[in-house]
């Protein structure tokens, strides 16, 4: 078991976003979390990345280590969890190249960095064409590619993806998911959060359904796809 989350609760001021959820992700898996707007999907990922403080009593472990002992930047460098945040959040004032290099900030292995960079360009040739363009002037899709590329540069044990398909053209979306699949086959465990529930479930092996801060369903993707409630609520009938 790679990631184990128990009784995870998070609040923003008075708003309770997560009410003590429990789930797990195994090594090499692709797991997706689906849910409506504001269900708490992004919050879950932020909690794992330690970007938001969690309520007392929450427990999270990664490869047997207590995740709560690590500050946000060490979750990346020491545990190897990368995160593609919602809305991309690129450093728009830096160039594409600088964004990628920055993601490898704490890494010392020059050779590996170089190899990873090549892989990013293999997956997203468009980025290579725009190396010295400021990230802020990329189109939506290009930005999403860069966001994933950046995550690949920072850590590869596990990748948290927050709505990577948002705003992507159909073809690109296909490409992206293919790329993610490749990444997964090369050993990166993936936890995916998506609005586009159908596609997410088709892509993942297992899924969880999050509803107003509570996990209400869990199961194999196929089961969920066939579940009538899920179909009604998230797949558009």
């Amino acid at each position: 078991m790679l990631l184990q989350v128990e009784n995870l609760a998070v609040s923003y001021g008075n708003i309770k976003a997560l009410h003590g959820i429990r789930f797990q992700v195994d090594e090499g898996e692709i797991v997706s979390i689906i849910g409506a707007n504001g269900a708490g999907k992004s919050t879950t990922l932020r909690a794992i990345s330690r970007l938001v403080p969690v309520a007392p009593g929450s427990r999270m472990s990664f490869m047997g280590k207590d995740l709560l002992q690590y500050p946000a930047h060490k979750v990346v460098t020491e545990l190897g969890i990368s995160h593609v945040p919602e809305g991309r959040r690129l450093f728009e004032n830096l160039t594409v190249m600088e964004n990628l290099r920055l993601a490898a900030f704490a890494r010392k292995d020059a050779d590996h960095i170089k190899r990873d960079m090549e892989r990013v360009f293999d997956l997203f040739p468009r980025l290579k064409e725009r190396l010295s363009q400021k990230a802020g002037t990329l189109s939506g899709g290009e930005q999403q590619m860069l966001a994933v590329g950046r995550a690949m540069m920072s850590a590869q044990k596990m990748m948290l993806l927050d709505e990577p398909s948002m705003g992507l053209a159909p073809l690109l979306m296909l490409n992206l998911f293919e790329a993610l699949k490749e990444l997964n086959q090369a050993g990166t465990t993936i936890l995916l959060v998506e609005q586009n529930a159908r596609m997410a479930l088709q892509f993942a092996q297992r899924g969880y359904v999050l509803e107003s801060g509570n996990l209400v369903l869990a199961g194999k993707s196929q089961e969920l796809l066939e579940n009538p409630e899920v179909r009604k609520a998230y797949l558009g009938g």
Partner: protein
């Protein structure tokens, strides 16, 4: 006379050719779609039409009148409403204030009224409030009128954007990815709203979308853009089967 006519519009960002020789004609009451790969220049087309950028070359005519070079507020006052790809709401303002403010150019009182709270101003404000509330009812968010927008769910925020754009009393509405970030169920609701708006207000609509179901179901005519140039234009059926579009944009297998 067509409602909007764009002729040979070209735009460069530095050395990058974002839009090249773009033409479009929109008739009153038409629903049109604009698709294309990421970075094709779709949003740029919208930004050019609405005056956020000034085209390097070309003419934009609204009901025969050239509007290129005008400021965005002048263009929008002439009946061109829009929403943004990334929500651009005013984070400290309430839903109602958003919609009321979009009536800015239609307000019939001046600074004196604003300073001294004249009777005319009070009448105008009441009337504007009524119009705004009607729009909010139409969007189904009237009960959230006094909420500050930052606290609202994403889907609601999208509706606020739409209501705000409608409050400018447009004859042509530009929608940049209205269902982005919604799950399929919510997207269906949004489509319903767009249809209703189109029906009840009789607007022309020009929309950008990546969700094929939305484009194909809503639009009468679809344009496809690639590298800033139109590569195909036609009915949904024609576009779906257009080889170049499939190549550049749709892909062979459709996931959903």
């Amino acid at each position: 006379m067509p409602l909007l006519e764009v002729r040979n519009m070209t735009h460069f960002f530095g050395g990058l050719r974002a839009v090249y020789n773009y033409n479009v004609t929109i008739e009153p009451g038409q629903i049109r779609g604009l698709i294309g790969p990421n970075g094709a220049g779709k949003s740029t087309v919208f930004n050019l039409i609405t005056g956020i950028y000034t085209p390097t070359e070309g003419d934009i005519l609204l009901e025969g009148q050239p509007i290129q070079g005008l400021r965005p507020d002048q263009i929008s006052s002439r009946g061109l409403g829009r929403t943004f790809q990334n929500l651009r709401l005013w984070r400290h303002m309430t839903v109602l204030e958003h919609v009321m403010l979009a009536r800015y150019s239609k307000l019939d009182y001046g600074l004196v009224g604003a300073f001294f709270g004249t009777a005319k101003r009070n009448r105008e404000e009441a009337r504007t409030r009524q119009i705004a509330m009607d729009l909010l009812k139409m969007m189904g968010i009237a009960d959230q009128a006094d909420q500050v927008v930052t606290n609202l769910p994403y889907g609601t925020q999208r509706r606020v954007e739409l209501a705000r754009a409608l409050a400018t009393a447009p004859r042509l509405l530009l929608l940049d990815e209205p269902t982005a970030g919604m799950n399929p169920g919510e997207a269906l609701q949004m489509m319903e709203i767009i249809r209703q708006v189109h029906r009840e207000l009789g607007l022309a609509i020009f929309l950008i979308e990546h969700r094929m179901k939305v484009v194909m179901d809503l639009c009468e005519i679809i344009q496809t853009l690639n590298f800033g140039e139109v590569i195909a234009e036609g009915t949904p059926e024609e576009i779906r089967n257009h080889p170049e579009v499939i190549d550049a944009y749709l892909g062979k297998e459709v996931l959903f």
